[in-house]
C-alpha cells in the first residue's frame, strides 16, 4: 500500500478532544502531525506533536492565530483536521486563507446544539462531522455517520 506523503495537521485541545484525534489517526498510514494547545496539564511534550498557546476566548487567540499561520507556512500541510475545540478556528482561518482544505469533527457531547467552535467551523470547514442525528436536521452540510 502506498503511504501518502502529504502532511495532515490534526489539531485539538488536550483531554477528550485529543483522545478522539488519537483514536482516529494513531496507527493510520497517513503522514500526520498532532497540534495541541499547551497548558498546565500537558505534562510532557510529545515528539509527534507541535504545540500552540491555549486560548479561552481571550487575547491569546491572536497569538495562537499567529502561531497557526507560522506552522502552516513552515510545514505546508495538505489538510487540516480538527476535533475541537477553539483552536480549530485559528487553524481553519489560516488554512482557508492559504486554500488548504479543512475537516471538523464535532464532539459527541453536543447533542442539541453545536459548540461555539463547531458553529464557526461549520462555515469554514470543507467537511463537517456531527455525532448525533438530531443535529443533522439543523445542519444540512454536516455529515452524520452511524
Amino acid at each position: 500500500m502506498t503511504v501518502s506523503k502529504k502532511l495532515i495537521f490534526v489539531v485539538s485541545a488536550p483531554g477528550g478532544h485529543f483522545s478522539v484525534a488519537e483514536e482516529l489517526f494513531l496507527g493510520s498510514n497517513y503522514n500526520y502531525r498532532f497540534i495541541l494547545t499547551k497548558s498546565n496539564e500537558t505534562v510532557n511534550s510529545r515528539p509527534d506533536c507541535y504545540y500552540v498557546i491555549e486560548s479561552n476566548r481571550d487575547f491569546n487567540f491572536f497569538i495562537q492565530l499567529f502561531q497557526a499561520y507560522n506552522l502552516i507556512k513552515e510545514h505546508k500541510p495538505s489538510l487540516v483536521v480538527s476535533t475541537g475545540a477553539g483552536v480549530a478556528i485559528s487553524f481553519f482561518l489560516c488554512a482557508k486563507f492559504l486554500k488548504i482544505p479543512t475537516i471538523f469533527i464535532e464532539s459527541a457531547s453536543r447533542v442539541h446544539s453545536l459548540s461555539l467552535s463547531g458553529k464557526i467551523s461549520y462555515y469554514l470547514a470543507d467537511r463537517f462531522y456531527i455525532r448525533n442525528k438530531e443535529l443533522a436536521n439543523s445542519f444540512s452540510k454536516a455529515v452524520q455517520v452511524d
Partner: protein, 169 residues
C-alpha cells in the same frame, strides 16, 4: 470483612472551571476502607482526608492505569473521561458540571447526560449516598451496555475515504 481497600478514582477533567460540587461530595469518602485517588485538574481540592491522593494532571498511561485498577470511578460528564472508562468495560459514575455554579461555560454536560441516560453507558450521581450504596455492595455495579459513546469506527471509515479522495484529486 476484607482488608483490601476499595479503590476509587475521581476525575475532574481539564476544564478551567472549579467543580465545587464534586469536591464537596467526595469528601464524604473519608472512610479508611476507601483508597481515593483524585485528578482535580484546575479545581481546588482544598484540604482532603488522609485516605486521599490528589494530583492535578497526569500522563495518559497513568490515567488509563488508574481506571484499570479502580473499583469505582467517578467522573465529570466529559466525553473523553467517560469514553476512556467505557473502553475498559467499566461503568462510569458521572456528575454534571453546573454552569449556574460557574462549573462550566454552558449546559452541554446536562444535555449530554439527559440524552444518553437511558443507554446504560453511565450512572448519573447527584448525591454521595448513591455512591456509598454502590460501595457497600461493590459487586453489584452493573457493566455498561457498550464500550463507547458513539462509534468512531464509522467516522474513521468515512473520514479516511474523504481524505483519500481529496488527496487523489
Amino acid at each position: 470483612m476484607t482488608d483490601i481497600p476499595i479503590k476509587i478514582f475521581v476525575i475532574y477533567g481539564n476544564s478551567i472551571h472549579d467543580f465545587g460540587t464534586l469536591t464537596k461530595i467526595i469528601k464524604s469518602l473519608s472512610d479508611q476502607r476507601y483508597q481515593v485517588t483524585v485528578q482535580h485538574g484546575f479545581s481546588n481540592p482544598g484540604s482532603v482526608p488522609a485516605n486521599f491522593h490528589v494530583f492535578d494532571f497526569c500522563e495518559k498511561d497513568k490515567f488509563i492505569n488508574l481506571i484499570s485498577v479502580s473499583d469505582l470511578i467517578i467522573t465529570h460528564a466529559g466525553v473523553g473521561s467517560i469514553s476512556a472508562i467505557l473502553k475498559q468495560g467499566k461503568m462510569p459514575f458521572v456528575m454534571v458540571r453546573d454552569p449556574k455554579k460557574n462549573e462550566h461555560v454552558n449546559d452541554h454536560q446536562r444535555e449530554f447526560v439527559d440524552f444518553y441516560s437511558a443507554d446504560g453507558i453511565f450512572i448519573e450521581v447527584k448525591l454521595i449516598t448513591e455512591i456509598i450504596d454502590y460501595l457497600n455492595c461493590i459487586q453489584s455495579i452493573p457493566l455498561p451496555t457498550r464500550k463507547y459513546i458513539t462509534n468512531l469506527e464509522s467516522i474513521r471509515s468515512d473520514l479516511f475515504s474523504y481524505i483519500d479522495k481529496i488527496f487523489h484529486d
